[in-house]
């Protein structure tokens, strides 16, 4: 079973520019979580902070008793072996073939014979569907294949925690769906804690158990996926619609004046009965979550997640509670008392973000 990752009060800035501040959340053991956020909100920086590649100024990231921010170098290197990180671009070693790339962690960290290594590597290559390409160099294959090879390399040491940095970027919608299914299948097979950083709404609405969103230097929300997917908070709603109308601007948050104009336009459009005003955009809705492919064991995380949600049902916003109960009426009879077996820090309810 995966390991819980507890983030407490994390703050990071580059020079005088604050990336995000006071981020606290807990990635529940073995569950799949997604971190959303517009481009440039420090999602990748957050991911790299979890694994100790980037050192935030304040806060702690507790993994298996080690603080990945302020801990001793030796402990951090040891704890990193529990992680598998899938880089945005694969980050394969350019001078090695795919096979050697994927075998690299095994050769460095284990005393396995080449025969055993070959067995493991070929199994992982099969898992990500790269059979036949193992002798190619990273420069000779497409971006999507590099990503999958990067994932295979991240999986080779049987990680307890898997972090994926934008698994969809540069992939077509079909391949993105395959990656989504692959991630869910992986979770079913090895029951690892997973965090996917993305701004792809398809992945966000179908893959995770939990969802969070970074925006404007803050963690806007984190909790069971229903909480975000049903939220009316303008930032969250705008992002899930992929609409230009709302507080998120092209580069940063919009100023008050632009927002006011936008509201006037929207009202005018409503007054004239819609017409040529704003196009209505489809909001990412509460699609059913993906299930593992046929022949794979059920995800153990589903039951744990269900128990956790049962415990926090009373604290959920109404819309989220309704969505949870619609999808799983069996939870209705559960005691709605808050503070069952969950601690409050696992959830951050959607909140308005004011410019700081």
């Amino acid at each position: 079973m995966g390991i819980e990752v507890r983030v407490e009060g994390l703050t990071k800035s580059f020079g005088s520019q604050k990336i995000w501040q006071d981020v606290s959340l807990t990635l529940p053991a073995g569950e799949v979580s997604v971190m959303l956020g517009p481009s440039g909100t420090g999602k990748t920086v957050f991911l790299k902070s979890l694994i100790g590649l980037i050192r935030p100024e304040r806060g702690r990231v507790m993994v298996d008793g080690t603080d990945m921010v302020g801990g001793r170098e030796r402990d951090i290197y040891r704890t990193r072996k529990l992680f598998g990180l899938m880089f945005q671009d694969g980050a394969l070693f350019g001078s090695m073939s795919l096979y050697d790339n994927i075998a690299f962690p095994l050769r460095e960290h284990t005393r396995k014979s080449e025969k055993e290594i070959k067995k493991i590597v070929m199994e992982r290559i099969g898992m990500v569907g790269l059979e036949g390409s193992e002798r190619k160099l990273p420069g000779e294959i497409s971006g999507g294949m590099r990503k999958r090879a990067g994932l295979a390399r991240a999986l080779v040491l049987d990680p307890q925690i898997i972090l994926c940095d934008e698994p969809d970027s540069g992939l077509d919608p079909v391949r993105t769906s395959y990656i989504s299914q692959l991630l869910i299948d992986l979770n079913a097979q090895i029951d690892a804690t997973m965090l996917i950083v993305t701004h792809n709404l398809d992945i966000a609405s179908t893959v995770p158990d939990n969802m969070g969103m970074l925006y404007n230097r803050n963690l806007v929300a984190f909790g069971p996926r229903e909480v975000l997917l049903t939220s009316d908070e303008p930032v969250v709603a705008q992002f899930l619609c992929g609409s230009p109308e709302g507080p998120i601007g092209m580069s940063e948050e919009k100023d008050q004046e632009t927002l006011a104009k936008e509201r006037e336009r929207a009202q005018a459009a409503n007054g004239s009965g819609g017409g040529s005003g704003s196009t209505q955009r489809q909001r990412a809705t509460l699609a059913p979550q993906l299930t593992p492919s046929d022949g794979l064991p059920p995800r153990q995380a589903v039951n744990r997640h269900r128990d956790r949600v049962r415990g926090m049902l009373g604290t959920l916003p109404d819309a989220a509670r309704k969505a949870v109960l619609d999808a799983d009426p069996g939870l209705a009879g559960a005691p709605a008392a808050p503070g069952g077996d969950h601690d409050g820090s696992t959830m951050v309810l959607p909140k308005a973000v004011t410019a700081t």
């Binding site: 020079g15 290197y77 460095e108």
Partner: protein
């Protein structure tokens, strides 16, 4: 308001302290490299590959540079000693100049220019392709896995190449002195053994070792910290060579002064 003044003051202070901070980081890397050299597992394969690479790019230019360099020193010293009427000492003087000064410097400049620039570019492009991050994520220290073998390779090649350059330079000096300036072989060799002593060779090798270390560390440091994407790698290579050159001449000055102070010249 106080919240506003702090961020504006800090960058200025940061800029003033920038040279100190860079020096500190280079020293930290140097110490880490020394420490990680003794940490298991030792990367023998990488060391051999790098050794071969650095040697292959620097042997030929080093040999080619050292012949005219030895000749120039021999000619210059030869004509000067002729004017002074001490022509019989030409051999000793030019050999000492070649072995103690020219040879380690030629070696270091070539290793830094040919090997160091390649090391810097290699590490820099790995850094921006996130290969080094990927390594750290796997719990493998890039310093131990990549930098240590490279620094050891530059040091080793520097020491061995220093021997080659000393021999080639001395032979070049001998050739030009005896055949072009009409010096006698006997006087050349005799003044050589009258003025030169074994510590001269030791200091030459020690210099080469230290220069190789500096070239390796600077190349690795600039390669590990490229600024601003792919263009930053080009800048880093450029800077690594320039910084290495500057440092080498300063360190050479210091080491020569110390050597002349603690080792008395032969015959005095």
């Amino acid at each position: 308001m106080s919240g506003n003044t702090a961020p504006t003051r800090l960058p200025n202070a940061g800029r003033a302290l920038w040279p100190l901070r860079e020096t500190g980081r280079v020293l930290t890397l140097a110490i880490t490299v020394v420490r990680d050299t003794f940490r298991r597992p030792f990367q023998l394969r990488e060391l051999i590959e790098q050794f071969w690479f650095v040697a292959s790019v620097s042997i030929l230019p080093a040999a080619l540079v050292s012949i005219p360099f030895g000749a120039v020193i021999a000619l210059q010293v030869g004509s000067l000693t002729q004017q002074l009427g001490a022509q019989s000492f030409t051999g000793g003087a030019s050999v000492l100049a070649v072995i103690q000064q020219a040879s380690p410097l030629i070696v270091a400049l070539l290793i830094s220019g040919a090997g160091g620039s390649a090391i810097c570019a290699d590490l820099g492009s790995r850094k921006i392709r996130e290969e080094l991050d990927a390594m750290e994520v796997m719990g493998i220290s890039p310093v131990q896995r990549l930098v240590v073998p490279r620094v050891l390779a530059t040091m080793g090649v520097a020491v061995l190449l220093n021997g080659l350059v000393s021999v080639v330079g001395t032979l070049g000096g001998y050739y030009f002195n005896v055949l072009m300036q009409g010096g006698t072989p006997g006087a050349y060799l005799q003044s050589f053994s009258a003025l030169a002593q074994l510590p001269d060779l030791w200091i030459s090798e020690v210099k080469a070792l230290i220069f190789g270390f500096i070239a390796g560390i600077i190349a690795a440091y600039r390669g590990l910290n490229p600024r601003g994407g792919p263009k930053g790698v080009g800048d880093a290579v450029n800077q690594s060579v320039v910084i290495t050159f500057l440092l080498l001449f300063l360190v050479n000055l210091a080491m020569t002064m110390i050597y002349l102070h603690i080792v008395p010249p032969k015959g005095s």
